[in-house]
């Protein structure tokens, strides 16, 4: 089912321009003038906190959500205009289980294959192979109702692979999985990637985005803030390092400490984040061209403001630092 794309080998797998989605009776846009594209064969990550608009974006790309404005093109076909043309090319692993609970585990796969016109022999063989690979082989005749969250997640991944899609959408795929299965899934995603499948995944797990994705778009409040390779994103932080200071003291000191830190020589910016459970624990992030010279003065500033220092560390920027740098908020609530 790849003929549409093969005719245009240079075409990106996904092109989104000025996409807007506003749900009825909703005050704000869930997706707000978003544009990006995903090259064929790429692993693209959409990284953002709860409510950022990740699922809505995937909904538009997979024909479930009708866009308010803008266009989305998948496999060379306009999704809103010709949803039927797009469907054979894509597969979705949703965030929450939507497995057909009237069926047995194996039937979920074989019927899915049948819906997509996979011949009986092929779909049965493929179903058994996938079930074995995902470690579900010995419980395949059970009803789906008896499956745990993680098993359902694995089954939905198997289901998505039944019709060999060109573009695979995974909405927070490892949320429900134990560490071992998570690693297995990452390997599996890389394998699919090397066989040429384009992968679009949403996540709020920074490690996952960092380790898997060729490119990452960071999304917040319906907007894409940046879109780059993981290495490129980390370069957003000037100087390449962050000095993190954890102070402890009366919460009222927070603002004066922040000002004192910001006034230090060489510091370009300070972000303060407080801990909602323990207001006396205050975390500051100092961005500067070089972290080392700032360590001493920073410690001095905190102490002379009357707070204690609990921890002081120079950090290589992770995507988490990048996210906080861009939004001033922590991705993990």
């Amino acid at each position: 089912m790849v003929q549409e794309i093969d005719r245009m080998p240079d075409l990106p797998a996904i092109v989104v321009s000025d996409l807007v989605k506003r749900y009825p009776q909703s005050a704000a846009n869930a997706v707000d003038r978003v544009s990006f594209h995903v090259a064929r064969g790429e692993i693209f990550g959409l990284l953002g906190p709860n409510g950022a608009g990740k699922t809505t974006t995937i909904g538009v790309l997979t024909t479930f959500v009708i866009p308010t404005a803008g266009t989305a093109i998948v496999a060379g076909i306009d999704v809103a205009r010709r949803p039927l043309g797009v469907k054979p090319h894509i597969a979705v692993v949703p965030q929450l289980s939507n497995l057909d609970r009237g069926l047995t585990v194996r039937e979920v796969l074989t019927f899915h294959g049948a819906y997509f016109g996979v011949p009986r022999k092929v779909r049965e063989a493929r179903a058994d192979k996938l079930l074995d690979e995902l470690g579900l082989g010995n419980r395949k005749h059970e009803s789906v109702k008896r499956y745990s969250g993680g098993m359902s997640q694995r089954l939905m991944i198997a289901r998505a692979l039944m019709h060999e899609p060109d573009v695979l959408f995974l909405d927070e795929p490892t949320n429900n999985l134990d560490p071992q299965t998570r690693l297995y899934l990452w390997d599996r995603i890389r394998e699919l990637h090397s066989s040429g499948v384009t992968i679009f995944l949403s996540t709020h797990d920074m490690e996952e985005a960092d380790r898997l994705c060729d490119r990452i778009a960071i999304m917040d409040h319906g907007k894409i803030l940046v879109n780059d390779t993981p290495a490129g994103l980390k370069k957003l932080i000037a100087g390449g390092t962050v000095l993190r200071v954890e102070a402890w003291g009366p919460p009222c000191l927070g603002e004066s400490i922040r000002c004192a830190l910001a006034a230090l020589c060489g510091v370009t910016r300070v972000d303060a984040s407080d801990n909602s459970e323990e207001p006396r624990a205050m975390t500051f992030r100092l961005y500067s061209d070089a972290a080392a010279p700032v360590i001493g003065p920073a410690a001095q500033a905190v102490l002379s403001a009357g707070a204690e220092i609990r921890d002081l560390s120079v950090r290589q920027p992770t995507l988490e630092e990048v996210f906080i740098f861009l939004t001033g908020r922590n991705l993990r609530k």
Partner: protein
């Protein structure tokens, strides 16, 4: 594979899926469909005539109404109760909606499958009626084609009604709405009395004309009730019946598939 062939294959596979799932709950399906008509037949066709609260003819006069009602209700529930699960929190229907066929066809499949349930349920009333009514069982045999036609039409009406109700009603209001819609539907549908016998309550007679079940029951009576003492039972005109049922199927189909689309896309 051409797009249309792909869509037809998907449609067939989805129909097969419904057969598999229903096959698994066959007993439940029959209980759901048949317990009520069984008791009606027994009480109204056997008990009441035996204790002389109803005439001996009452049994076979009632039978067509029960065939119509059973077919309509089974088809309707076959669609709407399944939709409650499919469109519920877990959205189990999503996998079918992503299949390469138009969204409308997924709604059409529901109708077709619901109608099949209706046809099976109303057909079973015949042997059941013969068993319960015994010598009181009488169905004319010279209008078999008409009986089959009415069974099909009735099932289609029920299935379309099911799609419309299942998609318009919000999931948390289903049981309330069923009572609110179902009870009047049941009692204004001329199931237990011929339409012509309502002559003396003219306003009610007119009101029943707005219920599609009236036409199903009347059509079924026309096809099934043998002449009594050489006289045919007076029913609504069969052309009127066909037109009324055809129009209501068309209207409900168009509204129902549209509302189905609205419900599954956001």
């Amino acid at each position: 594979m051409s797009r249309i062939r792909l869509a037809i294959r998907a449609f067939v596979a989805i129909f097969r899926r419904d057969l598999t799932v229903t096959g698994r709950e066959f007993v439940r399906f029959f209980l759901q469909a048949l317990v009520q008509p069984l008791f009606f037949l027994f009480i109204f066709g056997k008990v009441l005539p035996s204790i002389r609260l109803a005439s001996a003819n009452f049994g076979f006069l009632m039978l067509p109404g029960i065939v119509a009602l059973t077919g309509l209700v089974s088809a309707m529930q076959g669609v709407s109760l399944h939709l409650v699960v499919d469109l519920g929190y877990a959205r189990e229907i999503d996998d079918r909606l992503l299949s390469p066929l138009p969204i409308r066809w997924v709604g059409l499949e529901k109708i077709l499958f619901g109608a099949l349930r209706g046809v099976v349920a109303s057909s079973v009333i015949f042997p059941l009626g013969r068993l319960i009514l015994g010598s009181g069982y009488a169905v004319r045999t010279d209008r078999i084609a008409e009986i089959i036609g009415m069974i099909l039409l009735t099932a289609l009406v029920g299935a379309n009604l099911g799609l419309l109700m299942g998609t318009v009603i919000k999931p948390d209001q289903v049981s309330l709405m069923f009572t609110l819609i179902f009870t009047p539907l049941l009692f204004t549908g001329c199931t237990y009395y011929p339409w012509s016998s309502l002559d003396r309550i003219r306003w009610f007679q007119v009101a029943t004309l707005f219920n599609p079940l009236t036409y199903c029951a009347e059509g079924m009576r026309h096809a099934m009730v043998p002449p009594i003492g050489g006289r045919e039972l007076a029913t609504l005109n069969t052309t009127d019946i066909r037109v009324a049922l055809g129009v209501s199927v068309a209207v409900m189909l168009s509204l129902g598939t549209r509302s189905f689309r609205r419900r599954v896309l956001s």
